[in-house]
């Protein structure tokens, strides 16, 4: 191969290499540009502006605590409609815990000690002082499974104050009975003219013992018909042997504040000994119906039975 041929060959090889290089570069730029090219949005898709939500508000709990050095007390609280600010960062030491009906913590957040007061001095420096009294207003989004708010001193593992949220929610439900969380709260009690509050005396008449049971709705609007009530009379010993029981159903839906009254008649043995017995009424004993607070579904009273 002479020099001319050699040069020609090298030229051809070089040209080929450069062509390959160009091709690779072109392919590379095309593929990368396709991969990274933004989705084009030259014309925006019509969409709704946000709606001013001043009517359809969720539930909000507000609790006011009063702090004095070494002590915290519950001042007031209520549940209303509104948004919560949510929890912000605060130093460890004071923790708010929100618990459900079995005492499980649903949510917790730290709280600033309101007794510590920051100030900027005339020379521009910061200083702090301890107030003798201060209020803390705590807010949080309320959900119906919340039962308790607790404030804990986490440094000393000490509960400073514990607030039952159930009464606050009941008050809310009386004002907002249409809230779907505001189901009825059926509470039983016994009523009979002449009864003492505790240890009433009952006298069977021809073996028949009649008691008057009243069921009142102290909760919200959402109530069912046909809620069962179980009324029992049992012995006053450790066995609590059931001597007689009667079951009936509340035949109507109860509006807030409404009552349903029913006479319950027990047939007793003629030789039933005189003395103390337990009388109990249990609304919805198998938890088949919605109730704002199942904890107040049972009433048990001591009764004295005497023969006429």
């Amino acid at each position: 191969m002479n020099d001319y041929m050699m040069r020609k060959l090298v030229k051809q090889v070089l040209f080929l290499l450069i062509t390959i290089l160009f091709t690779v570069m072109i392919l590379f730029t095309v593929t990368t540009s396709v991969g990274a090219e933004p989705a084009l949005q030259p014309t925006p898709v019509p969409r709704q502006p946000p709606r001013l939500d001043i009517e359809y508000l969720p539930k909000l709990a507000l609790v006011e605590l009063e702090f004095t050095p070494g002590n915290v007390e519950f001042n007031s609280g209520y549940i209303t409609k509104g948004y919560s600010s949510g929890s912000e960062q605060a130093p460890p030491g004071l923790q708010v815990q929100l618990l459900d009906y079995v005492g499980k913590i649903i949510e917790s957040f730290n709280l600033y000690n309101p007794l510590i007061q920051d100030r900027i001095n005339p020379d521009g420096t910061h200083s702090q002082s301890m107030l003798s009294k201060a209020e803390a207003k705590i807010n949080f989004a309320f959900v119906a499974i919340m039962k308790t708010m607790r404030l804990v001193d986490t440094n000393n593992a000490k509960t400073l104050v514990e607030i039952d949220l159930e009464p606050l929610f009941k008050s809310y439900c009386l004002e907002n009975p249409n809230d779907l969380d505001c189901v009825a709260d059926l509470v039983p009690f016994f009523f009979h003219p002449g009864w003492e509050i505790d240890n009433p005396t009952l006298s069977p008449d021809m073996g028949r013992l009649t008691v008057k049971v009243v069921i009142q709705n102290i909760g919200g609007n959402v109530s069912s018909r046909g809620v069962p009530v179980l009324v029992t009379l049992s012995t006053d010993d450790r066995q609590r042997e059931v001597l007689a029981s009667r079951r009936f159903r509340i035949t109507t839906a109860l509006l807030p504040g409404q009552e349903y009254t029913r006479d319950v008649v027990f047939m007793l043995r003629n030789d039933i000994p005189e003395g103390l017995y337990w009388l109990e009424a249990n609304v919805d004993p198998n938890n088949e119906f919605k109730d704002l607070a199942h904890s107040n579904n049972v009433i048990t009273v001591h009764v004295m039975i005497r023969r006429p």
Partner: protein, 514 residues
């Protein structure tokens, strides 16, 4: 032979640069247009699933109250990790809870899933509702980011109301929409404002759109646009410009607008809708309302200092508020981007700063009650000395026009950042924020966090604070933030730890946690 070979090599070597030059030239010619199409980084868009209707139907447990919650997944991210419940009040058509996150447009499609549950009593498992008539109980959807088409269990479009119902023993109905908005392009920022800030009936309102780069230098783009609801075409367009304006005299009790920039490569940067009520008279009045459900937004309430202004309608106060929004919040990248998740309000009643102490703050009437419980922070604007955050009361004081200070103080509340300086001989009850600390109790903690802040190899600096007797804690603190040009030190630029906290907070807003 050797000479000839050398000559040939020399000739080739001499011509080689020509080949290469020609090659490079051709390559550049080919590459240049495609380079122009590529953004510097990937562009983003916000994808929001808003639940608008729930009917638990068969899924509603007869023995417990209805406690619905949804689990929304967008791009593999669970946007309700705490199973936060939706309030099921009165009409079940109004929960309107939003779940949003930002996605990279380069990925073309986004997978989404919606699950509905009814929380049961603490003794039982939650009911898993069936919200889809086909197989499975959940909804699986795919969003095409280029066409906005939705496929999967539902075939539709984004920004359209959708409703599905399941069958069987746990059947329930869910109504929702998938929105795509707030396109973000690196290196481009749009500031969208209106004046007057609290318009009254009959006022002419000027809407301004301004375009900047990341350093807040004005940036000319192909198009700057302003949209006003219900128009789908821009009401104002400027070509090869960095700003445009539009004037409107609202004839209804509220109006909405947003602004948009389109670059030469068709990349888009846009703001969310700004809803502005006209002539409202309530204890607290929204002036820039971007986010419907307030758990999805940082809600900032401006309060007039009664020692500085005649009231909340004082024009000087309203000008100060407009400036605070425009130059304080929208004058810094992260707050401008976060503007998509920020609502601004004005309290009708006045508050108070001092006198004589910028930390002595009094909110308006009912501050702390239900009227203002939604407020993440109240900013009391004063013409006197300001610059203090009372975090226990969610209140700040800021001097009108002090834009760096308002960013510093909101760094404290609500973003949870600590000061990073020694208080000039004064004292403070410092604590290490958790999560996302910007100061640390030990040097070790500070070092351990360097990698998370992309500061591997950096050092931590120490500073001392006099600890007052009223609070426990160390007087020596550590931080990896710079000693100068830092938001929580000299009130200037937000640095890595600041940005982490602020971004975390806005992410929580997207999950209904604000």
């Amino acid at each position: 032979m050797w000479l000839k070979g050398q000559l040939a090599r020399c000739t080739l070597t001499a011509k080689l640069p020509q080949f290469v030059s020609v090659g490079l030239l051709i390559s550049l010619l080919i590459i240049s247009p495609t380079l122009a199409l590529q953004p510097q980084e990937s562009s983003l868009a916000r994808v929001t699933i808003t639940v608008e209707k729930l009917d638990l139907f068969e899924c509603d447990d007869v023995t417990t109250t209805p406690d619905p919650y949804v689990r929304v997944m967008i791009n593999g991210e669970n946007l309700n990790p705490g199973n936060r419940e939706i309030d099921y009040y009165e009409s079940p058509t109004y929960p309107r809870q939003g779940y949003s996150t930002y996605v990279n447009l380069a990925q073309k499609t986004v997978d989404m899933a919606i699950e509905l549950y009814d929380a049961d009593d603490p003794w039982s498992d939650d009911d898993h509702c069936d919200i889809f008539a086909g197989e499975g109980r959940n909804l699986a959807l795919r969003l095409d980011l280029e066409t906005c088409a939705i496929t999967g269990d539902v075939t539709s479009q984004c920004n359209v109301y959708l409703e599905t119902q399941g069958t069987g023993g746990e059947a329930a109905t869910i109504g929702f929409r998938v929105d795509v908005d707030n396109f973000l392009t690196p290196g481009v920022q749009v500031r969208c404002t209106h004046d007057p800030i609290k318009p009254q009936p009959g006022d002419t309102v000027t809407i301004s759109a301004e375009v900047f780069d990341d350093d807040f230098t004005q940036l000319a783009v192909s198009q700057v646009e302003i949209y006003v609801d219900p128009m789908t075409a821009p009401v104002a367009t400027a070509t090869n410009a960095d700003w445009t304006i539009f004037s409107i005299t609202p004839t209804v009790n509220e109006f909405s607008y947003y602004c948009r920039a389109v670059t030469a490569s068709n990349a888009v940067e846009e703001t969310p809708w700004h809803v502005v009520p006209v002539g409202y008279n309530r204890p607290v009045i929204p002036v820039v309302y971007t986010t419907e459900n307030r758990t999805n937004a940082l809600d900032v309430v401006f309060i007039a200092d009664r020692n500085s202004y005649s009231g909340s309608n004082d024009t000087q106060f309203l000008t100060a508020v407009a400036d605070m929004i425009r130059n304080g919040f929208y004058g810094e990248n992260i707050f401008l981007k976060g503007g998509a998740r920020t609502n601004f309000w004005i309290a009708r009643d006045t508050g108070e700063v001092g006198p004589g102490d910028a930390c002595k703050l009094g909110g308006p009437d009912h501050w702390g009650d239900s009227t203002f419980a939604f407020a993440n922070v109240g900013v009391i604007v004063t013409t006197g000395a300001g610059g203090c955050a009372r975090r226990s009361r969610r209140l700040l004081s800021v001097t009108a026009g002090d834009f760096n200070v308002v960013r510093h103080e909101v760094g404290h509340a609500p973003f949870g950042l600590a000061d990073e300086y020694d208080k000039n001989g004064g004292s403070s009850c410092y604590f290490q924020p958790d999560p996302n600390p910007n100061i640390y109790e030990t040097e070790g903690d500070c070092h351990d966090d360097l990698a998370n802040l992309n500061r591997v190899g950096s050092t931590c600096r120490r500073f001392e604070v006099n600890y007052p007797p009223v609070c426990d804690g160390p007087g020596i603190w550590w931080t990896s933030e710079p000693a100068t040009n830092d938001m929580m030190n000299d009130n200037l630029e937000p640095q890595a730890a600041d940005l982490r906290s602020i971004n975390y907070y806005f992410d929580q807003c997207g999950k209904g946690g604000c």
